[in-house]
């Protein structure tokens, strides 16, 4: 890779690594979440496109990009593949993780299924570990009502520390509220404070030792705590992605530490 993050800056970096066109100075919103939670339905509703859900060709996110205008501002939306985790076990997970991590969307909207929140919240926590700029969208709320499931969005917001909106993307319910929250987060009028997960003492100690090295190697571009945790986990795909996006030379110190 010729260009690296440090040498270019966010816009050009996004363009080179994620196929974003150069005039894209507009805010970027990423839609992430488990499979079948309605990300693409929401995407289609927002953009007026008819993106087919499902297959993801390799590493490109070109096909899933669209835009819409809200209160006079044009936003770019990226529909990420649905995954159960962000640990890069598969291409889809890697695409989703790399996008949230390296392309730095201005907001990541985590779309969750109101009818089985429990299984979705694990993913929300994983996203919140990477970025603060998270809005949770409790989708399929109409389906939940039918099943007599009540979602206490206020409680959820307090517990997670991020804005929560409930929607039914198929009928357009709750979308204005969601967009309102999204734009507030984009323009820093609302600052989500995601709860941070505390691990066992041993892990926390190791993280506090490793984190300064991560900052030394990568600067403050990435969430150093998250990177440290992945490195401790022995996540080789992250090292590969770091090499791809940042260039090898920045990683030498890290490699030394890990060796």
């Amino acid at each position: 890779m010729g260009l690296t993050y440090q040498s270019t800056g966010t816009a050009a970096f996004r363009e080179e690594a994620f196929n974003f066109s150069a005039d894209d100075k507009q805010p970027v919103i990423a839609l992430a979440g488990n499979p079948n939670t309605g990300k693409s339905t929401l995407f289609n509703l927002l953009t007026g496109l008819r993106q087919h859900t499902g297959n993801w060709p390799g590493k490109t996110v070109l096909q899933s990009k669209g835009s819409f205008i809200h209160q006079g501002i044009k936003y770019t939306v990226v529909d990420l593949p649905g995954t159960y985790s962000l640990l890069a076990n598969s291409i889809e997970e890697q695409v989703a993780r790399d996008f949230i991590c390296f392309a730095k969307p201005d907001v990541t909207v985590v779309v969750v299924d109101a009818t089985c929140l429990e299984r979705n919240l694990n993913f929300v926590l994983q996203v919140m570990e990477i970025t603060n700029k998270v809005v949770v969208c409790v989708n399929l709320i109409d389906e939940a009502r039918r099943k007599k499931i009540q979602v206490h969005t206020d409680k959820l917001r307090k517990m997670l520390g991020v804005p929560v909106a409930s929607t039914a993307a198929n009928i357009g319910e709750g979308i204005p509220k969601l967009l309102d929250l999204v734009s507030k987060v984009v323009f820093d009028k609302l600052k989500p404070k995601p709860v941070q997960i505390k691990y066992d003492k041993e892990i926390e100690e190791a993280v506090s030792k490793l984190e300064p090295k991560v900052i030394e190697a990568l600067g403050s571009e990435l969430n150093s705590r998250w990177v440290a945790l992945r490195l401790l986990e022995g996540d080789t795909t992250l090292i590969q992605s770091l090499e791809n996006y940042y260039g090898k030379q920045h990683l030498q110190t890290l490699q030394e530490v890990l060796a």
Binding site: Y84, L87, T115, C116, E233
Partner: protein, 78 residues
């Protein structure tokens, strides 16, 4: 002897006890929702017996025998 998830007959429920794996493999199963205490139902097996579809916390997910055998469970019956 505790049975593993791949031994659960179709239509039966089981409770996850423990994941007999480590590192990224374990993490993956946990991420799919297979944490201790989770109720899992075997909903269907493919003609050749592998993979099997399980209902895990509201989503139907197919697991190979290889993966399911890492999940220690206790039988709950039908």
């Amino acid at each position: 002897m505790c049975p593993t998830l791949n031994n659960i007959p179709v239509g039966c429920n089981a409770l996850v006890k423990k994941i007999n794996a480590s590192g990224i493999k374990k993490r993956r199963l946990l991420d799919l929702g297979l944490v201790p205490g989770t109720k899992v139902e075997a909903v269907g097996r493919s003609p050749l017996g592998d993979p099997t579809a399980y209902n895990i916390r509201g989503a139907v997910i197919a697991l190979r025998n290889e993966e399911a055998s890492m999940v220690q469970v206790s039988k709950l019956g039908n």
